[in-house]
Protein backbone atom coordinates (compact mmCIF):
# COMPACT_ATOMS: atom_id res chain seq x y z
CA UNK A 1 0.00 0.00 0.00
CA UNK A 2 2.94 2.33 0.50
CA UNK A 3 3.35 2.60 -3.24
CA UNK A 4 -0.23 3.80 -3.76
CA UNK A 5 0.44 7.56 -3.47
CA UNK A 6 3.38 7.28 -5.87
CA UNK A 7 1.31 5.36 -8.42
CA UNK A 8 -1.56 7.78 -7.98
CA UNK A 9 0.71 10.78 -8.53
CA UNK A 10 2.29 9.28 -11.64
CA UNK A 11 -1.11 8.46 -13.13
CA UNK A 12 -2.30 11.99 -12.35
CA UNK A 13 0.79 13.55 -13.92
CA UNK A 14 0.51 11.43 -17.05
CA UNK A 15 -3.15 12.44 -17.27
CA UNK A 16 -2.19 16.10 -16.90
CA UNK A 17 0.47 15.75 -19.59
CA UNK A 18 -2.07 14.13 -21.91
CA UNK A 19 -4.75 16.78 -21.34
CA UNK A 20 -3.69 19.21 -24.12
CA UNK A 21 -4.39 16.54 -26.75
CA UNK A 22 -7.82 15.82 -25.23
CA UNK A 23 -9.15 19.26 -24.37
CA UNK A 24 -9.71 22.45 -26.32
CA UNK A 25 -7.37 25.39 -25.91
CA UNK A 26 -9.98 27.24 -23.87
CA UNK A 27 -10.29 24.34 -21.44
CA UNK A 28 -6.53 24.23 -21.00
CA UNK A 29 -6.51 27.91 -20.05
CA UNK A 30 -8.82 26.82 -17.21
CA UNK A 31 -6.49 24.04 -16.15
CA UNK A 32 -3.61 26.53 -15.80
CA UNK A 33 -5.10 28.42 -12.82
CA UNK A 34 -5.94 25.04 -11.29
CA UNK A 35 -2.25 24.12 -11.52
CA UNK A 36 -1.31 27.46 -9.97
CA UNK A 37 -3.75 27.00 -7.10
CA UNK A 38 -2.69 23.40 -6.63
CA UNK A 39 0.87 24.57 -6.00
CA UNK A 40 -0.21 27.45 -3.75
CA UNK A 41 -2.54 25.21 -1.73
CA UNK A 42 0.05 22.49 -1.21
CA UNK A 43 1.97 25.15 0.68
CA UNK A 44 -1.11 26.60 2.34
CA UNK A 45 -2.12 23.19 3.64
CA UNK A 46 1.25 22.69 5.34
CA UNK A 47 0.12 25.53 7.58
CA UNK A 48 -3.60 24.75 7.71
CA UNK A 49 -3.88 20.97 7.56
CA UNK A 50 -0.59 19.90 9.09
CA UNK A 51 0.16 22.71 11.52
CA UNK A 52 -3.46 23.52 12.35
CA UNK A 53 -3.17 27.28 11.78
CA UNK A 54 -5.96 28.78 9.69
CA UNK A 55 -4.78 31.86 7.84
CA UNK A 56 -7.34 34.19 6.33
CA UNK A 57 -4.64 36.27 4.66
CA UNK A 58 -2.63 34.01 2.40
CA UNK A 59 -3.89 35.81 -0.69
CA UNK A 60 -1.18 38.28 0.36
CA UNK A 61 1.54 35.84 -0.70
CA UNK A 62 -0.25 34.87 -3.89
CA UNK A 63 -0.40 38.55 -4.80
CA UNK A 64 3.28 39.01 -3.99
CA UNK A 65 3.98 36.33 -6.60
CA UNK A 66 1.67 38.00 -9.10
CA UNK A 67 2.86 41.58 -8.52
CA UNK A 68 6.46 40.39 -8.37
CA UNK A 69 6.10 38.84 -11.82
CA UNK A 70 4.38 41.98 -13.10
CA UNK A 71 7.05 44.35 -11.81
CA UNK A 72 9.95 42.17 -12.89
CA UNK A 73 8.66 41.60 -16.43
CA UNK A 74 7.12 44.94 -17.33
CA UNK A 75 9.09 47.42 -15.21
CA UNK A 76 12.51 45.84 -14.78
CA UNK A 77 12.67 43.87 -18.02
CA UNK A 78 13.61 40.56 -16.41
CA UNK A 79 12.22 37.79 -18.59
CA UNK A 80 13.62 34.52 -17.28
CA UNK A 81 10.73 32.76 -15.52
CA UNK A 82 13.11 30.70 -13.37
CA UNK A 83 14.69 33.88 -12.01
CA UNK A 84 11.25 35.45 -11.56
CA UNK A 85 9.92 32.48 -9.60
CA UNK A 86 12.96 32.46 -7.38
CA UNK A 87 12.87 36.22 -6.72
CA UNK A 88 9.13 36.24 -6.04
CA UNK A 89 9.36 33.27 -3.70
CA UNK A 90 12.30 34.82 -1.84
CA UNK A 91 10.47 38.15 -1.56
CA UNK A 92 7.39 36.34 -0.31
CA UNK A 93 9.38 34.48 2.34
CA UNK A 94 11.05 37.75 3.33
CA UNK A 95 7.62 39.32 3.88
CA UNK A 96 6.30 36.18 5.54
CA UNK A 97 8.99 35.97 8.23
CA UNK A 98 8.16 39.18 10.12
CA UNK A 99 4.42 38.51 9.72
CA UNK A 100 4.90 34.97 10.98
CA UNK A 101 7.03 36.16 13.90
CA UNK A 102 4.09 38.26 15.04
CA UNK A 103 1.30 35.85 14.16
CA UNK A 104 2.54 32.44 15.30
CA UNK A 105 2.22 33.50 18.91
CA UNK A 106 -1.49 33.03 18.39
CA UNK A 107 -3.62 30.14 17.36
CA UNK A 108 -7.19 29.73 16.25
CA UNK A 109 -9.29 32.78 15.64
CA UNK A 110 -6.63 35.33 16.59
CA UNK A 111 -4.20 33.88 14.10
CA UNK A 112 -6.92 34.10 11.46
CA UNK A 113 -7.76 37.71 12.25
CA UNK A 114 -4.15 38.86 12.42
CA UNK A 115 -3.29 37.29 9.07
CA UNK A 116 -6.46 38.84 7.63
CA UNK A 117 -5.32 42.24 8.86
CA UNK A 118 -1.91 41.83 7.25
CA UNK A 119 -3.51 40.70 4.01
CA UNK A 120 -5.80 43.72 3.95
CA UNK A 121 -2.88 46.01 4.81
CA UNK A 122 -1.18 44.83 1.65
CA UNK A 123 -4.41 45.13 -0.34
CA UNK A 124 -4.92 48.76 0.66
CA UNK A 125 -1.29 49.46 -0.23
CA UNK A 126 -1.84 47.95 -3.69
CA UNK A 127 -5.15 49.73 -4.08
CA UNK A 128 -4.25 53.20 -2.87
CA UNK A 129 -0.66 53.78 -3.96
CA UNK A 130 -1.52 54.30 -7.56
CA UNK A 131 1.93 55.49 -8.65
CA UNK A 132 3.72 52.38 -7.51
CA UNK A 133 1.14 49.67 -8.00
CA UNK A 134 -1.20 50.96 -10.69
CA UNK A 135 -4.11 51.14 -8.24
CA UNK A 136 -7.22 49.17 -9.14
CA UNK A 137 -6.06 48.39 -12.68
CA UNK A 138 -2.85 46.82 -11.45
CA UNK A 139 0.21 46.10 -13.58
CA UNK A 140 0.52 44.25 -16.87
CA UNK A 141 2.50 41.04 -16.94
CA UNK A 142 4.65 40.40 -20.01
CA UNK A 143 5.43 36.97 -21.35
CA UNK A 144 8.47 35.45 -19.63
CA UNK A 145 11.02 33.13 -21.19
CA UNK A 146 11.07 29.49 -20.11
CA UNK A 147 14.54 27.98 -19.64
CA UNK A 148 15.92 30.79 -21.80
CA UNK A 149 13.54 30.24 -24.74
CA UNK A 150 11.17 33.04 -25.72
CA UNK A 151 8.80 31.07 -28.05
CA UNK A 152 8.32 34.20 -30.16
CA UNK A 153 6.75 32.19 -32.98
CA UNK A 154 3.77 31.31 -30.75
CA UNK A 155 0.86 33.66 -30.02
CA UNK A 156 -0.28 34.26 -26.45
CA UNK A 157 -2.72 31.36 -26.16
CA UNK A 158 -0.43 28.92 -27.96
CA UNK A 159 2.35 29.85 -25.57
CA UNK A 160 0.12 29.38 -22.52
CA UNK A 161 -1.43 26.07 -23.51
CA UNK A 162 1.82 24.76 -24.97
CA UNK A 163 5.21 25.23 -23.32
CA UNK A 164 3.92 27.17 -20.32
CA UNK A 165 1.37 24.47 -19.49
CA UNK A 166 3.99 21.70 -19.47
CA UNK A 167 6.34 23.90 -17.51
CA UNK A 168 3.67 24.30 -14.80
CA UNK A 169 2.92 20.57 -14.72
CA UNK A 170 6.61 19.87 -14.14
CA UNK A 171 6.69 22.58 -11.49
CA UNK A 172 3.72 20.98 -9.73
CA UNK A 173 5.44 17.60 -9.86
CA UNK A 174 8.68 18.94 -8.38
CA UNK A 175 7.08 21.09 -5.69
CA UNK A 176 4.56 18.35 -4.89
CA UNK A 177 7.39 15.85 -4.42
CA UNK A 178 9.32 18.26 -2.18
CA UNK A 179 6.20 18.85 -0.09
CA UNK A 180 5.57 15.12 0.17
CA UNK A 181 9.09 14.61 1.51
CA UNK A 182 8.66 17.57 3.83
CA UNK A 183 5.45 16.40 5.51
CA UNK A 184 6.79 12.85 5.89
CA UNK A 185 10.07 14.02 7.38
CA UNK A 186 10.66 14.51 11.11
CA UNK A 187 9.89 18.17 10.43
CA UNK A 188 6.38 17.30 9.25
CA UNK A 189 5.82 15.06 12.25
CA UNK A 190 6.90 17.90 14.53
CA UNK A 191 4.26 20.13 12.93
CA UNK A 192 1.52 17.57 13.45
CA UNK A 193 2.67 17.12 17.05
CA UNK A 194 2.37 20.86 17.75
CA UNK A 195 -1.09 20.83 16.19
CA UNK A 196 -2.31 17.86 18.20
CA UNK A 197 -0.98 18.96 21.55
CA UNK A 198 1.06 22.05 21.94
CA UNK A 199 1.92 21.55 25.61
CA UNK A 200 3.04 17.97 25.27
CA UNK A 201 5.18 18.67 22.25
CA UNK A 202 6.79 21.55 24.12
CA UNK A 203 7.65 19.20 26.97
CA UNK A 204 9.21 16.88 24.44
CA UNK A 205 11.45 19.71 23.30
CA UNK A 206 9.70 20.79 20.11
CA UNK A 207 10.30 24.48 19.49
CA UNK A 208 6.68 25.18 18.64
CA UNK A 209 6.95 28.76 17.42
CA UNK A 210 10.05 28.04 15.38
CA UNK A 211 8.37 25.16 13.58
CA UNK A 212 5.25 27.21 12.95
CA UNK A 213 7.43 29.97 11.57
CA UNK A 214 9.12 27.62 9.13
CA UNK A 215 5.76 26.18 8.04
CA UNK A 216 4.49 29.73 7.49
CA UNK A 217 7.54 30.64 5.39
CA UNK A 218 7.25 27.49 3.26
CA UNK A 219 3.56 28.18 2.66
CA UNK A 220 4.43 31.73 1.56
CA UNK A 221 7.02 30.31 -0.86
CA UNK A 222 4.47 28.00 -2.51
CA UNK A 223 1.78 30.68 -2.64
CA UNK A 224 4.14 33.08 -4.41
CA UNK A 225 4.97 30.46 -7.05
CA UNK A 226 1.24 29.88 -7.56
CA UNK A 227 0.68 33.64 -7.81
CA UNK A 228 3.39 34.01 -10.45
CA UNK A 229 1.75 31.34 -12.63
CA UNK A 230 -1.66 32.98 -12.19
CA UNK A 231 -0.24 36.33 -13.24
CA UNK A 232 1.36 34.99 -16.41
CA UNK A 233 -1.89 33.23 -17.26
CA UNK A 234 -4.10 36.32 -16.91
CA UNK A 235 -1.43 38.77 -18.07
CA UNK A 236 -2.36 41.13 -15.25
CA UNK A 237 -1.73 41.52 -11.53
CA UNK A 238 -4.58 43.36 -9.81
CA UNK A 239 -5.39 44.15 -6.16
CA UNK A 240 -8.38 41.77 -6.05
CA UNK A 241 -5.77 39.03 -5.70
CA UNK A 242 -4.92 40.34 -2.23
CA UNK A 243 -8.49 40.89 -1.02
CA UNK A 244 -9.62 38.85 1.96
CA UNK A 245 -12.33 37.06 0.01
CA UNK A 246 -9.57 35.60 -2.17
CA UNK A 247 -7.93 34.25 0.99
CA UNK A 248 -11.33 32.80 1.83
CA UNK A 249 -11.39 31.07 -1.55
CA UNK A 250 -8.03 29.49 -0.79
CA UNK A 251 -9.48 28.02 2.40
CA UNK A 252 -12.60 26.97 0.49
CA UNK A 253 -10.57 25.06 -2.11
CA UNK A 254 -8.49 23.34 0.55
CA UNK A 255 -11.56 22.20 2.46
CA UNK A 256 -13.31 21.20 -0.77
CA UNK A 257 -10.42 18.87 -1.57
CA UNK A 258 -9.91 17.80 2.02
CA UNK A 259 -7.22 19.26 4.24
CA UNK A 260 -6.65 16.00 6.10
CA UNK A 261 -5.22 14.39 2.98
CA UNK A 262 -1.93 15.24 1.29
CA UNK A 263 -3.55 15.34 -2.17
CA UNK A 264 -6.66 17.12 -0.91
CA UNK A 265 -5.51 20.64 -1.86
CA UNK A 266 -4.66 19.52 -5.41
CA UNK A 267 -8.06 17.85 -5.79
CA UNK A 268 -9.63 20.98 -4.28
CA UNK A 269 -7.90 23.35 -6.70
CA UNK A 270 -8.99 21.38 -9.76
CA UNK A 271 -12.53 20.78 -8.62
CA UNK A 272 -13.02 24.39 -7.48
CA UNK A 273 -11.86 25.85 -10.79
CA UNK A 274 -14.00 23.36 -12.71
CA UNK A 275 -17.01 24.00 -10.46
CA UNK A 276 -16.63 27.76 -10.65
CA UNK A 277 -16.37 27.88 -14.44
CA UNK A 278 -19.31 25.49 -14.84
CA UNK A 279 -21.46 27.53 -12.45
CA UNK A 280 -20.45 30.79 -14.11
CA UNK A 281 -21.58 29.35 -17.42
CA UNK A 282 -24.92 28.27 -15.99
CA UNK A 283 -25.99 31.28 -13.95
CA UNK A 284 -24.96 34.78 -13.01
CA UNK A 285 -25.67 33.86 -9.40
CA UNK A 286 -22.77 31.43 -9.18
CA UNK A 287 -21.57 32.88 -5.86
CA UNK A 288 -24.79 31.78 -4.22
CA UNK A 289 -24.35 28.21 -5.41
CA UNK A 290 -20.69 28.17 -4.47
CA UNK A 291 -21.71 29.32 -1.00
CA UNK A 292 -24.43 26.68 -0.85
CA UNK A 293 -21.93 23.99 -1.82
CA UNK A 294 -19.58 25.24 0.86
CA UNK A 295 -22.38 25.01 3.44
CA UNK A 296 -23.14 21.41 2.43
CA UNK A 297 -19.44 20.62 2.51
CA UNK A 298 -18.90 22.05 5.97
CA UNK A 299 -22.02 20.49 7.43
CA UNK A 300 -21.97 17.06 5.80
CA UNK A 301 -18.54 16.36 4.31
CA UNK A 302 -15.94 18.14 6.43
CA UNK A 303 -13.23 15.80 5.14
CA UNK A 304 -13.75 17.04 1.59
CA UNK A 305 -13.60 15.15 -1.70
CA UNK A 306 -10.38 13.35 -0.83
CA UNK A 307 -11.94 12.14 2.40
CA UNK A 308 -14.98 10.97 0.44
CA UNK A 309 -12.80 9.05 -2.03
CA UNK A 310 -10.81 7.49 0.79
CA UNK A 311 -14.04 6.38 2.45
CA UNK A 312 -15.39 4.86 -0.76
CA UNK A 313 -12.06 3.19 -1.41
CA UNK A 314 -12.03 1.67 2.07
CA UNK A 315 -15.60 0.43 1.69
CA UNK A 316 -14.78 -1.08 -1.69
CA UNK A 317 -11.83 -2.95 -0.24
CA UNK A 318 -13.79 -4.25 2.68
CA UNK A 319 -16.55 -5.64 0.47
CA UNK A 320 -14.22 -7.43 -1.97
CA UNK A 321 -12.42 -10.25 -0.17
CA UNK A 322 -8.86 -10.63 -1.34
Amino acid sequence: MRAAPAILSIVALVALAALPSLLTQYQITLVLPALAYAIALLGFNLLFGYTGLLSFGHALFVSIGAYGTAVLTSKLGLKSFEAILLLCAVASVAVAIPIALLSVRYVKIFFGILTLAFGMLFHSFLFKFYNITGGDTGIRVLRPTLLGRAYEDLDKTAFLVGPFYYYCVVLLAILGFVMWRLVHSPFGLHLVATRENRRKSEYLGVRVRFFRLIAFAVSAFYCAVGGAILAVNTGQADPELAYWTHSGELVFMTVLGGFANFFGPVVGAFSFIFLKSELMGLTQYWRFWLGAILVILVVLFPRGLAGLFAQLWARLHRSTPT
Binding site: I109, G112, I113, A117, Y243, Y285, R287, G291, L294, V299
Partner: protein, 293 residues
Protein backbone atom coordinates in the same frame (compact mmCIF):
# COMPACT_ATOMS: atom_id res chain seq x y z
CA UNK B 1 -10.65 74.29 13.35
CA UNK B 2 -13.46 73.77 10.86
CA UNK B 3 -11.63 70.80 9.36
CA UNK B 4 -11.07 69.33 12.80
CA UNK B 5 -14.75 69.66 13.69
CA UNK B 6 -15.69 68.05 10.38
CA UNK B 7 -13.43 65.11 11.11
CA UNK B 8 -14.78 64.81 14.62
CA UNK B 9 -18.44 64.75 13.58
CA UNK B 10 -17.88 62.58 10.52
CA UNK B 11 -15.77 60.20 12.56
CA UNK B 12 -18.22 59.91 15.41
CA UNK B 13 -21.07 59.31 12.96
CA UNK B 14 -19.15 56.49 11.31
CA UNK B 15 -18.21 55.16 14.75
CA UNK B 16 -21.87 55.16 15.82
CA UNK B 17 -22.83 52.88 12.94
CA UNK B 18 -19.73 50.72 13.29
CA UNK B 19 -20.47 50.27 16.97
CA UNK B 20 -23.85 48.71 16.22
CA UNK B 21 -22.36 46.10 13.89
CA UNK B 22 -19.40 45.47 16.18
CA UNK B 23 -21.69 45.10 19.20
CA UNK B 24 -23.58 42.39 17.33
CA UNK B 25 -20.30 40.68 16.51
CA UNK B 26 -19.22 40.87 20.17
CA UNK B 27 -22.49 39.47 21.50
CA UNK B 28 -22.33 36.49 19.19
CA UNK B 29 -18.66 35.90 19.87
CA UNK B 30 -19.13 36.31 23.58
CA UNK B 31 -21.87 33.71 23.85
CA UNK B 32 -21.39 31.37 20.91
CA UNK B 33 -17.63 31.83 20.41
CA UNK B 34 -18.23 32.24 16.71
CA UNK B 35 -16.67 35.04 14.71
CA UNK B 36 -19.33 35.90 12.21
CA UNK B 37 -17.88 36.99 8.86
CA UNK B 38 -21.44 37.52 7.64
CA UNK B 39 -22.05 40.47 9.99
CA UNK B 40 -21.26 42.76 7.06
CA UNK B 41 -23.86 40.96 4.97
CA UNK B 42 -26.53 41.60 7.61
CA UNK B 43 -25.52 45.25 7.59
CA UNK B 44 -25.89 45.45 3.81
CA UNK B 45 -29.19 43.58 3.96
CA UNK B 46 -30.49 46.14 6.45
CA UNK B 47 -29.35 48.96 4.17
CA UNK B 48 -31.02 47.59 1.04
CA UNK B 49 -34.18 46.62 2.85
CA UNK B 50 -34.31 50.06 4.46
CA UNK B 51 -34.23 51.71 1.04
CA UNK B 52 -37.00 49.49 -0.23
CA UNK B 53 -39.16 50.06 2.84
CA UNK B 54 -38.77 53.84 2.76
CA UNK B 55 -39.38 54.06 -0.98
CA UNK B 56 -42.49 51.92 -0.62
CA UNK B 57 -43.83 54.06 2.22
CA UNK B 58 -43.09 57.28 0.32
CA UNK B 59 -44.91 55.91 -2.69
CA UNK B 60 -47.90 55.19 -0.47
CA UNK B 61 -48.15 58.73 0.78
CA UNK B 62 -45.97 58.75 3.86
CA UNK B 63 -44.72 62.22 4.81
CA UNK B 64 -40.91 62.26 4.19
CA UNK B 65 -40.29 63.28 7.79
CA UNK B 66 -41.28 59.85 9.03
CA UNK B 67 -38.48 58.02 7.24
CA UNK B 68 -36.37 57.50 10.38
CA UNK B 69 -38.92 55.33 12.23
CA UNK B 70 -39.57 53.41 9.01
CA UNK B 71 -35.86 52.66 8.72
CA UNK B 72 -35.67 51.42 12.30
CA UNK B 73 -38.71 49.18 11.84
CA UNK B 74 -37.29 47.87 8.55
CA UNK B 75 -33.98 47.07 10.26
CA UNK B 76 -35.73 45.29 13.10
CA UNK B 77 -37.98 43.35 10.75
CA UNK B 78 -35.29 42.02 8.44
CA UNK B 79 -33.17 41.14 11.47
CA UNK B 80 -35.66 38.37 12.10
CA UNK B 81 -33.82 36.21 9.58
CA UNK B 82 -31.45 35.65 12.53
CA UNK B 83 -33.04 32.46 13.90
CA UNK B 84 -32.92 30.78 10.49
CA UNK B 85 -29.22 31.51 10.06
CA UNK B 86 -28.60 30.37 13.61
CA UNK B 87 -30.29 27.06 12.84
CA UNK B 88 -27.58 26.56 10.21
CA UNK B 89 -24.77 27.47 12.61
CA UNK B 90 -26.17 24.91 15.03
CA UNK B 91 -24.36 22.26 13.03
CA UNK B 92 -20.88 23.65 13.74
CA UNK B 93 -20.97 24.75 17.39
CA UNK B 94 -18.91 21.79 18.52
CA UNK B 95 -16.60 21.76 15.56
CA UNK B 96 -13.25 23.29 14.79
CA UNK B 97 -13.12 27.07 14.41
CA UNK B 98 -12.01 26.68 10.81
CA UNK B 99 -15.42 25.22 9.97
CA UNK B 100 -17.28 27.94 11.84
CA UNK B 101 -15.37 30.62 9.98
CA UNK B 102 -15.90 28.85 6.67
CA UNK B 103 -19.62 28.49 7.22
CA UNK B 104 -20.01 32.20 7.82
CA UNK B 105 -17.81 32.79 4.75
CA UNK B 106 -20.25 30.66 2.77
CA UNK B 107 -23.02 32.95 4.03
CA UNK B 108 -21.06 35.97 2.76
CA UNK B 109 -20.92 34.41 -0.71
CA UNK B 110 -24.60 33.52 -0.68
CA UNK B 111 -25.78 36.91 0.59
CA UNK B 112 -23.70 38.62 -2.09
CA UNK B 113 -25.92 37.04 -4.74
CA UNK B 114 -29.13 37.29 -2.71
CA UNK B 115 -28.59 41.06 -2.61
CA UNK B 116 -27.75 41.10 -6.32
CA UNK B 117 -30.86 39.04 -7.09
CA UNK B 118 -33.27 41.34 -5.25
CA UNK B 119 -31.68 44.74 -5.73
CA UNK B 120 -29.42 44.42 -8.78
CA UNK B 121 -25.76 45.24 -9.22
CA UNK B 122 -26.10 49.04 -9.25
CA UNK B 123 -25.66 50.97 -6.01
CA UNK B 124 -28.92 52.23 -4.54
CA UNK B 125 -29.59 55.32 -2.49
CA UNK B 126 -32.34 57.36 -0.90
CA UNK B 127 -31.63 60.68 -2.60
CA UNK B 128 -31.50 63.75 -0.40
CA UNK B 129 -34.14 62.56 2.02
CA UNK B 130 -31.64 63.18 4.80
CA UNK B 131 -32.15 66.91 4.32
CA UNK B 132 -35.80 66.79 5.39
CA UNK B 133 -34.56 67.09 8.96
CA UNK B 134 -32.50 70.15 8.10
CA UNK B 135 -29.09 71.08 9.41
CA UNK B 136 -27.70 72.13 12.72
CA UNK B 137 -25.12 74.86 12.93
CA UNK B 138 -22.24 73.81 15.17
CA UNK B 139 -19.75 76.65 15.32
CA UNK B 140 -18.35 77.03 11.83
CA UNK B 141 -19.77 73.84 10.33
CA UNK B 142 -23.25 72.75 9.41
CA UNK B 143 -24.18 69.18 10.21
CA UNK B 144 -27.23 67.34 8.91
CA UNK B 145 -29.56 66.83 11.89
CA UNK B 146 -30.03 63.24 10.77
CA UNK B 147 -26.37 62.41 11.45
CA UNK B 148 -26.71 63.76 14.98
CA UNK B 149 -29.88 61.72 15.47
CA UNK B 150 -28.05 58.56 14.46
CA UNK B 151 -25.24 59.34 16.90
CA UNK B 152 -27.77 59.88 19.67
CA UNK B 153 -29.65 56.71 18.71
CA UNK B 154 -26.44 54.68 18.77
CA UNK B 155 -25.49 56.04 22.20
CA UNK B 156 -29.00 55.25 23.42
CA UNK B 157 -28.71 51.69 22.09
CA UNK B 158 -25.30 51.34 23.74
CA UNK B 159 -26.65 52.50 27.10
CA UNK B 160 -29.78 50.39 26.74
CA UNK B 161 -27.77 47.32 25.78
CA UNK B 162 -25.44 47.87 28.72
CA UNK B 163 -28.35 48.15 31.17
CA UNK B 164 -30.05 45.18 29.54
CA UNK B 165 -26.98 42.98 29.96
CA UNK B 166 -26.24 44.19 33.49
CA UNK B 167 -29.66 44.60 35.08
CA UNK B 168 -32.16 42.20 33.56
CA UNK B 169 -32.52 38.52 34.35
CA UNK B 170 -32.00 37.65 30.68
CA UNK B 171 -28.81 39.70 30.61
CA UNK B 172 -27.41 37.95 33.66
CA UNK B 173 -28.14 34.53 32.19
CA UNK B 174 -26.58 35.67 28.92
CA UNK B 175 -23.38 36.71 30.65
CA UNK B 176 -23.31 33.53 32.68
CA UNK B 177 -23.67 31.45 29.52
CA UNK B 178 -20.87 33.42 27.90
CA UNK B 179 -18.67 32.79 30.93
CA UNK B 180 -19.30 29.08 31.32
CA UNK B 181 -21.58 27.23 28.97
CA UNK B 182 -21.42 23.81 30.66
CA UNK B 183 -22.16 25.27 34.09
CA UNK B 184 -25.17 27.22 32.86
CA UNK B 185 -26.42 24.13 31.09
CA UNK B 186 -26.08 22.19 34.35
CA UNK B 187 -27.97 24.90 36.19
CA UNK B 188 -30.88 24.55 33.85
CA UNK B 189 -30.35 27.46 31.47
CA UNK B 190 -32.04 26.86 28.14
CA UNK B 191 -28.84 27.29 26.14
CA UNK B 192 -30.56 26.46 22.86
CA UNK B 193 -32.95 29.40 23.27
CA UNK B 194 -30.11 31.58 24.55
CA UNK B 195 -28.01 30.98 21.45
CA UNK B 196 -30.90 31.59 19.06
CA UNK B 197 -31.98 34.79 20.78
CA UNK B 198 -28.45 36.19 21.13
CA UNK B 199 -27.69 35.52 17.50
CA UNK B 200 -30.92 37.23 16.48
CA UNK B 201 -30.09 40.20 18.66
CA UNK B 202 -26.67 40.38 16.99
CA UNK B 203 -28.27 40.19 13.57
CA UNK B 204 -30.73 42.95 14.43
CA UNK B 205 -27.93 45.24 15.62
CA UNK B 206 -26.29 44.73 12.22
CA UNK B 207 -29.40 45.26 10.12
CA UNK B 208 -30.47 48.34 12.09
CA UNK B 209 -26.95 49.75 11.68
CA UNK B 210 -27.22 49.23 7.94
CA UNK B 211 -30.69 50.76 7.74
CA UNK B 212 -29.59 53.84 9.69
CA UNK B 213 -26.55 54.55 7.50
CA UNK B 214 -28.40 54.32 4.21
CA UNK B 215 -29.80 57.88 3.98
CA UNK B 216 -26.22 59.21 4.08
CA UNK B 217 -24.47 56.66 1.85
CA UNK B 218 -25.39 54.46 -1.10
CA UNK B 219 -25.96 50.76 -0.53
CA UNK B 220 -23.72 48.70 -2.80
CA UNK B 221 -22.62 45.13 -3.23
CA UNK B 222 -19.15 45.97 -1.89
CA UNK B 223 -20.69 47.00 1.41
CA UNK B 224 -20.67 43.60 3.16
CA UNK B 225 -17.08 42.64 2.44
CA UNK B 226 -15.77 46.13 3.13
CA UNK B 227 -17.61 46.60 6.38
CA UNK B 228 -16.63 43.26 7.81
CA UNK B 229 -12.95 44.15 7.85
CA UNK B 230 -13.73 47.44 9.60
CA UNK B 231 -15.91 45.65 12.15
CA UNK B 232 -13.10 43.15 12.67
CA UNK B 233 -10.68 46.00 13.25
CA UNK B 234 -13.06 47.43 15.85
CA UNK B 235 -13.41 44.23 17.83
CA UNK B 236 -9.73 43.39 17.65
CA UNK B 237 -8.71 46.84 18.87
CA UNK B 238 -11.36 46.80 21.58
CA UNK B 239 -10.93 43.16 22.52
CA UNK B 240 -13.06 40.25 21.35
CA UNK B 241 -16.21 39.85 23.42
CA UNK B 242 -16.06 43.21 25.21
CA UNK B 243 -18.85 45.76 24.79
CA UNK B 244 -16.78 48.64 26.14
CA UNK B 245 -14.10 47.51 23.72
CA UNK B 246 -16.54 47.71 20.83
CA UNK B 247 -17.37 51.29 21.79
CA UNK B 248 -13.77 52.48 22.12
CA UNK B 249 -12.70 50.47 19.09
CA UNK B 250 -15.48 51.99 16.98
CA UNK B 251 -14.46 55.50 18.04
CA UNK B 252 -10.81 54.85 17.21
CA UNK B 253 -11.58 53.35 13.81
CA UNK B 254 -14.25 55.91 12.96
CA UNK B 255 -12.13 58.93 13.88
CA UNK B 256 -8.99 57.57 12.26
CA UNK B 257 -10.81 56.88 9.04
CA UNK B 258 -12.34 60.34 8.98
CA UNK B 259 -8.97 61.92 9.73
CA UNK B 260 -7.14 59.87 7.12
CA UNK B 261 -9.73 60.63 4.45
CA UNK B 262 -9.48 64.37 4.92
CA UNK B 263 -5.71 64.60 5.39
CA UNK B 264 -4.12 61.87 3.33
CA UNK B 265 -6.64 59.65 1.61
CA UNK B 266 -4.05 57.03 0.58
CA UNK B 267 -3.82 56.10 4.23
CA UNK B 268 -7.54 55.48 4.74
CA UNK B 269 -7.68 51.77 5.52
CA UNK B 270 -3.93 51.33 5.79
CA UNK B 271 -3.91 53.36 9.00
CA UNK B 272 -6.65 51.23 10.52
CA UNK B 273 -4.89 47.94 9.80
CA UNK B 274 -1.69 49.37 11.23
CA UNK B 275 -3.49 50.19 14.47
CA UNK B 276 -4.94 46.69 14.53
CA UNK B 277 -1.52 45.13 14.14
CA UNK B 278 0.06 47.42 16.73
CA UNK B 279 -2.70 46.64 19.25
CA UNK B 280 -2.45 42.90 18.64
CA UNK B 281 1.29 43.01 19.19
CA UNK B 282 1.25 45.27 22.23
CA UNK B 283 -1.95 44.01 23.86
CA UNK B 284 -2.86 40.69 22.27
CA UNK B 285 -6.26 40.57 23.96
CA UNK B 286 -7.24 44.03 22.71
CA UNK B 287 -7.70 47.12 24.84
CA UNK B 288 -10.55 45.71 26.95
CA UNK B 289 -10.32 42.00 26.21
CA UNK B 290 -9.14 39.23 28.46
CA UNK B 291 -5.45 38.44 28.11
CA UNK B 292 -4.77 35.34 26.06
CA UNK B 293 -3.56 31.98 27.38
Amino acid sequence: MTALLDILIGGVFHAAVLFLVAAGLQLVFGVQKIVNLACGSFYALGAYFGITAVSWCLAHGMPPGLFLPVLVVAGLAIGLIGPFIEALLLTVYHRDEAFQLLLTFALVLMFQDILRFFWGADPQQLGDLVMTYGRVKMGAVQVPTYNLLVIVASIAIAVGLGAFLKKTRYGRILRATAENREMSLALGVNVRWMYASVFTLGTILGTVGGALVVPTAAASLDMPVELVVEAFAVVVIGGLGSMRGAMVGALIVGLMRAAAISWYSELEMLAIYLVVIVVLIARPGGLFGKPLE
